[in-house]
Symmetry: C2
Subunit: 214 residues, 2 copies
Protein backbone atom coordinates (compact mmCIF):
# COMPACT_ATOMS: atom_id res chain seq x y z
CA UNK A 1 0.00 0.00 0.00
CA UNK A 2 2.69 2.43 1.03
CA UNK A 3 4.78 1.24 -1.90
CA UNK A 4 1.91 1.99 -4.23
CA UNK A 5 1.60 5.54 -2.93
CA UNK A 6 5.31 6.07 -3.46
CA UNK A 7 5.15 4.65 -6.97
CA UNK A 8 2.24 6.92 -7.87
CA UNK A 9 4.14 9.95 -6.60
CA UNK A 10 7.20 9.02 -8.63
CA UNK A 11 5.14 8.34 -11.77
CA UNK A 12 3.31 11.65 -11.45
CA UNK A 13 6.66 13.33 -10.98
CA UNK A 14 8.13 11.67 -14.06
CA UNK A 15 5.25 12.99 -16.16
CA UNK A 16 5.82 16.55 -14.99
CA UNK A 17 9.57 16.18 -15.46
CA UNK A 18 8.95 15.07 -19.06
CA UNK A 19 6.91 18.19 -19.67
CA UNK A 20 9.72 20.32 -18.22
CA UNK A 21 12.13 18.41 -20.46
CA UNK A 22 10.04 19.23 -23.54
CA UNK A 23 10.05 22.90 -22.64
CA UNK A 24 13.82 22.95 -22.10
CA UNK A 25 14.40 21.27 -25.47
CA UNK A 26 12.10 23.76 -27.18
CA UNK A 27 14.03 26.65 -25.61
CA UNK A 28 17.44 25.09 -26.28
CA UNK A 29 18.42 25.03 -22.61
CA UNK A 30 20.87 22.57 -21.15
CA UNK A 31 19.78 21.73 -17.59
CA UNK A 32 22.06 20.36 -14.90
CA UNK A 33 20.69 18.90 -11.64
CA UNK A 34 23.41 19.32 -9.01
CA UNK A 35 23.04 17.04 -6.01
CA UNK A 36 24.98 16.10 -2.88
CA UNK A 37 24.94 15.98 0.91
CA UNK A 38 24.67 19.14 2.99
CA UNK A 39 28.06 20.80 2.94
CA UNK A 40 29.51 18.73 0.10
CA UNK A 41 30.24 21.93 -1.80
CA UNK A 42 27.32 22.41 -4.20
CA UNK A 43 27.16 26.18 -3.86
CA UNK A 44 30.95 26.54 -3.98
CA UNK A 45 31.04 24.52 -7.21
CA UNK A 46 28.27 26.68 -8.57
CA UNK A 47 30.23 29.83 -7.74
CA UNK A 48 33.35 28.50 -9.46
CA UNK A 49 31.32 27.47 -12.49
CA UNK A 50 29.65 30.88 -12.75
CA UNK A 51 33.02 32.64 -12.46
CA UNK A 52 34.29 30.54 -15.34
CA UNK A 53 31.30 30.55 -17.67
CA UNK A 54 29.17 33.61 -17.06
CA UNK A 55 30.86 35.81 -19.66
CA UNK A 56 30.40 33.24 -22.40
CA UNK A 57 27.06 31.62 -21.62
CA UNK A 58 23.69 32.88 -20.49
CA UNK A 59 23.19 31.09 -17.19
CA UNK A 60 20.26 30.90 -14.80
CA UNK A 61 20.15 29.21 -11.40
CA UNK A 62 17.44 27.56 -9.34
CA UNK A 63 18.40 27.24 -5.68
CA UNK A 64 16.63 24.51 -3.74
CA UNK A 65 16.71 24.74 0.04
CA UNK A 66 14.46 23.59 2.83
CA UNK A 67 14.75 27.00 4.48
CA UNK A 68 16.63 30.28 4.00
CA UNK A 69 17.86 31.98 0.87
CA UNK A 70 21.51 31.94 1.93
CA UNK A 71 22.72 30.08 -1.12
CA UNK A 72 20.82 32.40 -3.45
CA UNK A 73 22.41 35.34 -1.61
CA UNK A 74 25.85 33.85 -2.24
CA UNK A 75 24.98 33.68 -5.95
CA UNK A 76 23.51 37.19 -6.11
CA UNK A 77 26.91 38.83 -6.72
CA UNK A 78 27.03 37.22 -10.18
CA UNK A 79 23.97 39.18 -11.31
CA UNK A 80 22.40 36.26 -13.10
CA UNK A 81 18.74 35.24 -12.94
CA UNK A 82 18.27 33.18 -9.78
CA UNK A 83 15.12 31.66 -8.32
CA UNK A 84 14.97 30.40 -4.76
CA UNK A 85 12.74 27.41 -4.04
CA UNK A 86 12.13 26.80 -0.34
CA UNK A 87 10.72 23.32 -0.05
CA UNK A 88 9.33 23.96 3.44
CA UNK A 89 10.50 20.66 4.86
CA UNK A 90 10.67 18.53 1.73
CA UNK A 91 14.04 16.86 1.37
CA UNK A 92 14.39 17.14 -2.41
CA UNK A 93 13.25 19.14 -5.42
CA UNK A 94 10.70 17.56 -7.72
CA UNK A 95 9.46 18.28 -11.21
CA UNK A 96 6.52 20.28 -10.01
CA UNK A 97 8.57 22.62 -7.82
CA UNK A 98 10.92 23.29 -10.73
CA UNK A 99 8.01 23.85 -13.11
CA UNK A 100 6.47 26.33 -10.67
CA UNK A 101 9.66 28.37 -10.59
CA UNK A 102 10.18 28.61 -14.37
CA UNK A 103 7.72 31.47 -14.80
CA UNK A 104 10.24 33.65 -12.95
CA UNK A 105 12.93 33.06 -15.58
CA UNK A 106 13.12 34.41 -19.13
CA UNK A 107 13.78 31.04 -20.68
CA UNK A 108 14.42 32.46 -24.15
CA UNK A 109 17.54 34.08 -22.75
CA UNK A 110 19.07 31.05 -21.04
CA UNK A 111 21.64 28.58 -22.40
CA UNK A 112 22.42 26.79 -19.17
CA UNK A 113 20.15 26.25 -16.18
CA UNK A 114 21.85 24.91 -13.09
CA UNK A 115 19.53 23.55 -10.42
CA UNK A 116 21.13 23.20 -7.00
CA UNK A 117 19.12 20.55 -5.20
CA UNK A 118 18.46 20.25 -1.47
CA UNK A 119 21.45 18.90 0.46
CA UNK A 120 20.74 15.21 0.72
CA UNK A 121 22.62 12.18 -0.59
CA UNK A 122 19.46 10.09 -0.84
CA UNK A 123 16.10 11.49 -1.91
CA UNK A 124 16.96 13.96 -4.70
CA UNK A 125 18.28 11.06 -6.77
CA UNK A 126 14.77 9.62 -7.05
CA UNK A 127 13.11 12.68 -8.56
CA UNK A 128 13.55 13.72 -12.18
CA UNK A 129 13.15 17.44 -12.78
CA UNK A 130 13.56 17.50 -16.56
CA UNK A 131 17.35 17.75 -16.51
CA UNK A 132 19.85 16.72 -19.19
CA UNK A 133 22.34 15.45 -16.64
CA UNK A 134 22.61 14.85 -12.96
CA UNK A 135 25.94 15.73 -11.36
CA UNK A 136 26.78 14.79 -7.81
CA UNK A 137 29.35 16.31 -5.52
CA UNK A 138 30.73 14.48 -2.50
CA UNK A 139 33.23 15.76 0.04
CA UNK A 140 36.16 13.51 0.91
CA UNK A 141 35.26 14.24 4.55
CA UNK A 142 32.11 12.15 4.03
CA UNK A 143 34.27 9.03 3.75
CA UNK A 144 35.31 6.53 1.11
CA UNK A 145 32.52 4.07 1.91
CA UNK A 146 29.66 6.06 0.41
CA UNK A 147 29.21 4.50 -3.07
CA UNK A 148 28.02 1.14 -1.78
CA UNK A 149 26.02 2.59 1.12
CA UNK A 150 24.18 5.22 -0.93
CA UNK A 151 24.28 3.71 -4.43
CA UNK A 152 21.33 5.38 -6.15
CA UNK A 153 22.83 8.84 -6.56
CA UNK A 154 26.03 7.31 -7.92
CA UNK A 155 23.95 5.25 -10.35
CA UNK A 156 21.90 8.10 -11.77
CA UNK A 157 24.68 10.69 -12.03
CA UNK A 158 26.73 11.32 -15.16
CA UNK A 159 29.52 12.98 -13.22
CA UNK A 160 30.85 12.71 -9.71
CA UNK A 161 32.92 15.57 -8.36
CA UNK A 162 34.93 14.40 -5.39
CA UNK A 163 35.47 17.67 -3.57
CA UNK A 164 37.71 19.01 -0.79
CA UNK A 165 40.64 16.86 -1.89
CA UNK A 166 42.85 19.44 -0.12
CA UNK A 167 41.68 17.75 3.12
CA UNK A 168 42.90 14.27 2.15
CA UNK A 169 46.20 14.58 4.10
CA UNK A 170 44.15 14.92 7.29
CA UNK A 171 41.70 12.08 6.62
CA UNK A 172 41.74 8.32 6.21
CA UNK A 173 40.38 8.27 2.69
CA UNK A 174 41.22 5.34 0.44
CA UNK A 175 40.97 6.77 -3.07
CA UNK A 176 41.45 3.43 -4.84
CA UNK A 177 38.69 1.79 -2.85
CA UNK A 178 36.42 4.77 -3.44
CA UNK A 179 36.97 4.78 -7.20
CA UNK A 180 36.54 1.03 -7.47
CA UNK A 181 33.29 1.09 -5.49
CA UNK A 182 31.90 4.07 -7.40
CA UNK A 183 32.63 2.43 -10.75
CA UNK A 184 31.17 -0.85 -9.54
CA UNK A 185 27.91 0.98 -8.88
CA UNK A 186 28.06 2.95 -12.15
CA UNK A 187 30.73 1.91 -14.68
CA UNK A 188 30.00 4.99 -16.82
CA UNK A 189 30.45 7.49 -14.00
CA UNK A 190 32.99 10.21 -14.77
CA UNK A 191 34.91 10.91 -11.59
CA UNK A 192 36.73 14.19 -11.10
CA UNK A 193 38.78 15.02 -8.02
CA UNK A 194 38.53 18.70 -7.22
CA UNK A 195 38.89 21.32 -4.56
CA UNK A 196 36.49 24.21 -4.92
CA UNK A 197 38.60 25.98 -2.29
CA UNK A 198 41.96 25.79 -4.09
CA UNK A 199 40.61 25.37 -7.63
CA UNK A 200 42.49 22.10 -8.09
CA UNK A 201 40.98 19.83 -10.74
CA UNK A 202 38.21 22.18 -11.82
CA UNK A 203 39.53 22.44 -15.38
CA UNK A 204 38.24 18.95 -16.10
CA UNK A 205 34.82 19.95 -14.79
CA UNK A 206 34.72 23.10 -16.93
CA UNK A 207 35.71 21.09 -20.00
CA UNK A 208 32.99 18.55 -19.28
CA UNK A 209 30.20 21.06 -18.87
CA UNK A 210 31.33 23.06 -21.93
CA UNK A 211 31.31 19.82 -23.87
CA UNK A 212 27.74 19.13 -22.79
CA UNK A 213 26.71 22.64 -23.79
CA UNK A 214 28.32 22.39 -27.22
Amino acid sequence: MEIKVVRNILEANDRIASQNRGLFIEKGIYVLNLMGSPGAGKTSLLERTLEHLKERKRIAVIEGDIETSRDAERIARFNIPTVQINTGGACHLDGNMVRGSLAELSLDQVDLLIVENVGNLVCPAEFQIGENDKAMILSVAEGDDKPLKYPLMFQVSSVLLLNKVDLIPYLDFDMERFRADALKVNPKLQIMTVSCKTGEGLDAWFRWIEGQLA
Copy 2:
Protein backbone atom coordinates in the same frame (compact mmCIF):
# COMPACT_ATOMS: atom_id res chain seq x y z
CA MET B 1 -3.69 16.01 -1.19
CA GLU B 2 -0.03 15.15 -1.07
CA ILE B 3 0.21 16.87 2.29
CA LYS B 4 -2.62 14.70 3.56
CA VAL B 5 -0.84 11.52 2.49
CA VAL B 6 2.30 12.65 4.25
CA ARG B 7 0.36 13.54 7.40
CA ASN B 8 -1.32 10.13 7.46
CA ILE B 9 2.04 8.40 7.14
CA LEU B 10 3.50 10.45 9.99
CA GLU B 11 0.46 9.87 12.21
CA ALA B 12 0.56 6.13 11.59
CA ASN B 13 4.25 6.21 12.38
CA ASP B 14 3.70 8.10 15.63
CA ARG B 15 1.23 5.44 16.75
CA ILE B 16 3.72 2.64 16.17
CA ALA B 17 6.49 4.66 17.80
CA SER B 18 4.30 5.09 20.91
CA GLN B 19 3.85 1.33 21.05
CA ASN B 20 7.62 0.87 20.80
CA ARG B 21 8.01 3.45 23.54
CA GLY B 22 5.65 1.54 25.82
CA LEU B 23 7.65 -1.63 25.28
CA PHE B 24 10.97 0.12 25.98
CA ILE B 25 9.57 1.60 29.22
CA GLU B 26 8.27 -1.79 30.29
CA LYS B 27 11.70 -3.34 29.69
CA GLY B 28 13.57 -0.44 31.30
CA ILE B 29 15.55 0.35 28.15
CA TYR B 30 16.91 3.79 27.34
CA VAL B 31 16.79 4.30 23.58
CA LEU B 32 18.92 6.77 21.67
CA ASN B 33 18.19 7.70 18.04
CA LEU B 34 21.49 8.78 16.49
CA MET B 35 21.12 10.87 13.34
CA GLY B 36 23.31 12.84 10.96
CA SER B 37 24.46 13.24 7.37
CA PRO B 38 26.37 10.50 5.58
CA GLY B 39 29.92 10.57 6.87
CA ALA B 40 29.22 12.85 9.85
CA GLY B 41 30.68 10.19 12.14
CA LYS B 42 27.71 8.23 13.48
CA THR B 43 29.42 4.85 13.43
CA SER B 44 32.66 6.28 14.80
CA LEU B 45 30.76 7.84 17.70
CA LEU B 46 29.02 4.53 18.27
CA GLU B 47 32.36 2.73 18.37
CA ARG B 48 33.76 5.20 20.89
CA THR B 49 30.63 4.94 23.01
CA LEU B 50 30.71 1.14 23.00
CA GLU B 51 34.41 1.15 23.98
CA HIS B 52 33.56 3.35 26.91
CA LEU B 53 30.33 1.77 28.13
CA LYS B 54 30.18 -1.85 27.12
CA GLU B 55 31.74 -3.26 30.30
CA ARG B 56 29.28 -1.41 32.51
CA LYS B 57 26.04 -1.43 30.57
CA ARG B 58 24.20 -4.00 28.51
CA ILE B 59 24.02 -2.39 25.10
CA ALA B 60 22.31 -3.37 21.86
CA VAL B 61 22.54 -1.65 18.49
CA ILE B 62 20.21 -1.27 15.53
CA GLU B 63 22.06 -0.26 12.37
CA GLY B 64 19.98 1.50 9.74
CA ASP B 65 21.40 1.63 6.22
CA ILE B 66 19.92 1.83 2.77
CA GLU B 67 22.26 -0.91 1.59
CA THR B 68 25.16 -3.01 2.91
CA SER B 69 25.94 -4.20 6.41
CA ARG B 70 29.26 -2.39 6.61
CA ASP B 71 28.43 -0.44 9.73
CA ALA B 72 27.16 -3.55 11.49
CA GLU B 73 30.42 -5.27 10.52
CA ARG B 74 32.38 -2.42 12.11
CA ILE B 75 30.36 -2.96 15.31
CA ALA B 76 30.70 -6.77 15.27
CA ARG B 77 34.05 -6.69 17.09
CA PHE B 78 32.31 -5.49 20.24
CA ASN B 79 30.30 -8.72 20.50
CA ILE B 80 27.09 -6.99 21.41
CA PRO B 81 23.64 -7.76 20.00
CA THR B 82 23.34 -5.90 16.68
CA VAL B 83 20.51 -5.89 14.17
CA GLN B 84 20.97 -4.56 10.65
CA ILE B 85 17.99 -2.88 9.00
CA ASN B 86 18.42 -2.34 5.27
CA THR B 87 15.76 0.12 4.24
CA GLY B 88 16.02 -0.79 0.56
CA GLY B 89 15.96 2.78 -0.67
CA ALA B 90 14.11 4.50 2.16
CA CYS B 91 16.00 7.50 3.45
CA HIS B 92 15.18 7.09 7.15
CA LEU B 93 14.18 4.55 9.79
CA ASP B 94 10.60 4.58 10.98
CA GLY B 95 8.76 3.11 13.93
CA ASN B 96 7.63 0.07 12.01
CA MET B 97 11.12 -0.86 10.82
CA VAL B 98 12.42 -0.61 14.37
CA ARG B 99 9.50 -2.64 15.70
CA GLY B 100 10.17 -5.33 13.12
CA SER B 101 13.76 -5.67 14.25
CA LEU B 102 13.07 -5.93 17.99
CA ALA B 103 12.21 -9.64 17.86
CA GLU B 104 15.87 -10.28 17.11
CA LEU B 105 16.98 -8.72 20.41
CA SER B 106 16.61 -10.11 23.94
CA LEU B 107 15.11 -6.95 25.31
CA ASP B 108 15.17 -8.20 28.92
CA GLN B 109 18.95 -8.07 28.74
CA VAL B 110 19.37 -4.56 27.38
CA ASP B 111 19.91 -1.29 29.29
CA LEU B 112 20.78 0.91 26.35
CA LEU B 113 19.62 0.58 22.75
CA ILE B 114 21.43 2.80 20.27
CA VAL B 115 19.76 3.15 16.90
CA GLU B 116 22.04 4.46 14.17
CA ASN B 117 19.75 6.03 11.62
CA VAL B 118 20.27 6.29 7.85
CA GLY B 119 22.76 9.01 6.89
CA ASN B 120 20.56 11.99 6.11
CA LEU B 121 20.30 15.42 7.71
CA VAL B 122 16.65 15.79 6.75
CA CYS B 123 14.15 12.92 6.77
CA PRO B 124 15.10 10.91 9.89
CA ALA B 125 14.19 13.92 12.03
CA GLU B 126 10.53 13.54 11.01
CA PHE B 127 10.06 9.96 12.15
CA GLN B 128 9.73 8.95 15.80
CA ILE B 129 10.91 5.42 16.54
CA GLY B 130 10.04 5.25 20.25
CA GLU B 131 13.30 6.79 21.46
CA ASN B 132 14.02 8.65 24.70
CA ASP B 133 16.33 11.11 23.00
CA LYS B 134 17.48 12.06 19.56
CA ALA B 135 21.16 12.93 19.22
CA MET B 136 22.59 14.44 16.07
CA ILE B 137 26.15 14.47 14.89
CA LEU B 138 27.45 16.96 12.34
CA SER B 139 30.93 17.18 10.87
CA VAL B 140 32.60 20.59 10.81
CA ALA B 141 33.37 19.82 7.16
CA GLU B 142 29.65 20.19 6.43
CA GLY B 143 29.92 23.90 7.16
CA ASP B 144 28.76 26.38 9.78
CA ASP B 145 25.57 27.34 7.91
CA LYS B 146 23.64 24.14 8.56
CA PRO B 147 21.41 25.03 11.55
CA LEU B 148 19.32 27.57 9.67
CA LYS B 149 19.26 25.59 6.41
CA TYR B 150 18.27 22.26 7.96
CA PRO B 151 16.53 23.36 11.16
CA LEU B 152 14.29 20.40 11.96
CA MET B 153 16.99 17.99 13.12
CA PHE B 154 18.47 20.70 15.31
CA GLN B 155 15.02 21.37 16.74
CA VAL B 156 14.18 17.78 17.66
CA SER B 157 17.59 16.76 19.02
CA SER B 158 18.54 16.90 22.69
CA VAL B 159 22.25 16.87 21.91
CA LEU B 160 24.38 18.01 19.01
CA LEU B 161 27.84 16.52 18.65
CA LEU B 162 29.93 18.73 16.41
CA ASN B 163 32.48 16.21 15.15
CA LYS B 164 35.85 16.30 13.38
CA VAL B 165 36.93 19.45 15.19
CA ASP B 166 40.51 18.34 14.45
CA LEU B 167 39.83 19.55 10.88
CA ILE B 168 38.93 23.11 11.91
CA PRO B 169 42.42 24.51 11.18
CA TYR B 170 41.93 23.52 7.53
CA LEU B 171 38.39 24.85 7.13
CA ASP B 172 36.55 28.15 7.21
CA PHE B 173 34.25 27.29 10.09
CA ASP B 174 32.86 30.09 12.23
CA MET B 175 32.18 28.42 15.58
CA GLU B 176 30.46 31.45 17.10
CA ARG B 177 28.09 31.81 14.20
CA PHE B 178 27.38 28.09 14.26
CA ARG B 179 26.61 28.02 17.99
CA ALA B 180 24.44 31.12 17.80
CA ASP B 181 22.42 29.74 14.88
CA ALA B 182 22.01 26.30 16.47
CA LEU B 183 20.78 27.84 19.73
CA LYS B 184 18.46 30.16 17.84
CA VAL B 185 16.81 27.09 16.30
CA ASN B 186 16.79 25.17 19.59
CA PRO B 187 17.69 27.10 22.76
CA LYS B 188 17.81 23.88 24.80
CA LEU B 189 20.24 22.09 22.50
CA GLN B 190 23.35 20.79 24.27
CA ILE B 191 26.28 21.32 21.96
CA MET B 192 29.46 19.28 22.37
CA THR B 193 32.53 19.74 20.21
CA VAL B 194 34.28 16.43 19.67
CA SER B 195 36.65 14.49 17.50
CA CYS B 196 35.86 10.81 17.30
CA LYS B 197 39.27 10.42 15.67
CA THR B 198 41.39 11.97 18.43
CA GLY B 199 38.94 11.44 21.29
CA GLU B 200 38.83 15.17 22.07
CA GLY B 201 35.69 16.26 23.89
CA LEU B 202 34.12 12.82 24.19
CA ASP B 203 34.16 12.90 28.00
CA ALA B 204 31.26 15.35 27.96
CA TRP B 205 29.31 13.01 25.70
CA PHE B 206 29.99 10.01 27.93
CA ARG B 207 28.89 11.99 30.98
CA TRP B 208 25.71 13.05 29.22
CA ILE B 209 24.68 9.58 28.12
CA GLU B 210 25.53 8.08 31.53
CA GLY B 211 23.40 10.79 33.09
CA GLN B 212 20.48 9.85 30.85
CA LEU B 213 20.90 6.18 31.75
CA ALA B 214 21.04 6.84 35.50
